[in-house]
Amino acid sequence: MDRTSVKIVVAGGFGTGKTTLVSSVSEIAPLTTEELLTEASLGVDDTTHVEDKTHTTVALDFGRITISPDVVLYLFGTPGQDRFWFMWDELAQGAVGAIVLVDTRRLDTSFAAVDYFERRGIPFVTAVNQFNGQCAYTEEEIRGALELDPQVPLVWCDARDRESSKLALIALVRHAMNRLRVPA
């Protein structure tokens, strides 16, 4: 049966506007699904009260855009906390790529996401979310602070604005296409 799912990951630090971006372009109100965490995936933290614990879950917000009768795009926001890295692997596997949202007041919170996609060779664009008005930094300053590879596109966006979020998605798809033509 010909029904293809396409995934794009929306990453970035806590409060950078991931769910906002998903909401502004999704055709459905963003949904939340949960994944169970095993002790193994949680690592070694907090084993003292493990017997009281029934289970721990991590929530994932996502949206959907019907591209054509056969192709549906799913946008998955990454869970905010760093200890849920293992979920990123499932989200990133087979994804077209990622949008890494950046809040210029807290550049450091998006550093881990940049690093994650860079290391795995997954195409990504950085989208500087300007929901607080004019950005105090130049593109060069932001690139420098995030140690971005010159080939990684940087776009300015307002995650609340549908058109602006759409342009960030388009920038990512074009970047992924270029990468496919000229493998890195």
Binding site: S5, K7, E35, I67, V71, Y74, R174, L180
Partner: protein, 120 residues
Amino acid sequence: MPDRWDGDDESEAGRFVPLYILVNGRTSPRDSKLDLATQVIALQVDANRLEPEYVQILNQCGNWISIAEIGAYLRIPLTIVKVMVDVLLEQGYLGIGSPAQQKVIDMSVLDALLAGLERL
């Protein structure tokens, strides 16, 4: 007693059968290609013999729907949805689309995606 079941943690969802029984103790789907974005659709098959929890999933699948959406609407954790969907696939109650999880995204899909986004 590490495996003791106190029956409490699912009561809010009104679930009377523990999930591990519903999935026959399976912990992972047979088909590891099942991704949270993989879409499925209900096939026209008599579902009378199925447990209500499985029927609930089939009822969500009148049109193509992803595993993540089923989990969100029915409030079932993804790991469990995957195993239950896998059981339904195996028994011929569901049809499956192309999984998102493939190593190489082909150019034709990206072309369609780009055109679709530009039309939005």
